[in-house]
């Protein structure tokens, strides 16, 4: 083989891996901030009312966890 082929695979897999890890880390950090933030007794937020579709993708989770 030659260096071009290896470079192509490294760039693709490295970029996708980094992006995936970053997404999961940001999701976890945001969830942690929400769980730790003070809440009001104002009832469900706009987001809580907007979960009728794509339930699997946007599902609420009970605690800070990754998938």
């Amino acid at each position: 083989m030659n260096g071009y082929v290896e470079a192509g695979y490294v760039v693709i897999l490295g970029t996708l891996g980094t992006y995936a890890v970053t997404l999961v880390a940001r999701e976890r950090a945001t969830r942690r901030r929400i769980d730790g933030a003070p809440t009001t007794a104002q009832g469900p937020s706009r987001e809580a009312a907007d979960t009728s579709a794509l339930p699997q993708l946007g599902a609420e989770e009970p605690g800070p966890r990754l998938s």
Binding site: I12, T15, L16, Y19, T40
Partner: protein, 250 residues
């Protein structure tokens, strides 16, 4: 109905997403193994053909992502189906599409250097693909302009549809103009293929695996966007409650 009241369904969804991630990862690993170590070198391209097991799937996923963003934008603009989830889905899909478009350009450039003798040529396909990349970067920038949620979502949806016009131009550019770039390895219109045997199966596996990666990434990006929106809304509610409490105490 809120999914917050359905923890069992939530757990199933999370498990399904984990399963999808595992299958996608296994598929990508198999594609890399077959592409690098099992399939034979090409008669003309030699080992460089191995880049073609990952480069066309990058382009396919980018098209798919922009198609999904366009469809979600149509659903958002259509009054009967207008919902925040479609705006969020469009944003998530477009962001993942930009990543895959960037990888299409870079992997194509790495393939072009030894094949054409240049990292970049102003070929119609390359140029329209670079334009696609810039258009959707602009779309993502537009989404970050602060303002009323629905006004921002509406203009973003229109921008997504305008940007999508470039997708068929990219795909058909090799037919419409004289191009250095070869014709598609698998023609989506005529279903004609230019690879066979283990090379065809490896390419097909690459398409399927990276499509699963796309779904997994969009799902996580969607969840992140939803959490960010919720964080913003709850933060606003807390601030308002504090102001009200201060007003009552004062």
């Amino acid at each position: 109905m809120s999914t917050a009241s359905h923890p069992a369904r939530t757990d199933r969804a999370t498990l399904a997403l984990r399963g999808l991630g595992a299958v996608a990862l296994a598929g990508v690993a198999a594609t890399v193994w077959l592409g690098l170590f099992v399939t034979p070198p090409d008669e003309f391209m030699g080992n460089l053909v191995r880049l073609l097991y990952v480069h066309p799937p990058m382009a396919w996923v980018a098209f798919l992502a922009y198609g999904m963003a366009g469809l979600a934008s149509v659903f958002y603009l259509w009054p009967r189906t207008r919902a925040e989830r479609f705006d969020r889905l469009a944003g998530a899909s477009a962001e993942v599409g930009v990543v895959f478009t960037g990888l299409t350009l870079v992997s194509g450039s790495i393939w072009g250097r030894p094949t054409w003798g240049a990292w970049w040529v102003w070929d119609p396909l390359l140029t329209t693909t670079a334009l696609l990349f810039v258009l959707y970067l602009g779309y993502l920038a537009l989404r970050r302009v602060p303002g009323d949620f629905h006004a921002r979502a509406r203009r973003s949806a229109i921008a997504a549809l305008v940007a999508f016009v470039d997708v068929p131009i990219v795909y058909f550019s090799v037919d419409w103009w004289r191009s250095l770039h070869q014709a598609p390895t698998i023609n989506l219109i005529t279903h004609k293929t230019y690879v066979h045997g283990s090379m065809a199966w490896t390419l097909l596996l690459g398409f399927v695996s990276f499509t699963l990666v796309y779904i997994w990434l969009v799902a996580h990006r969607y969840r992140l966007a939803k959490l960010q929106d919720r964080e913003e809304t709850e933060g606003l509610e807390v601030a308002l409650a504090e102001r009200r409490a201060e007003a009552v105490a004062g």
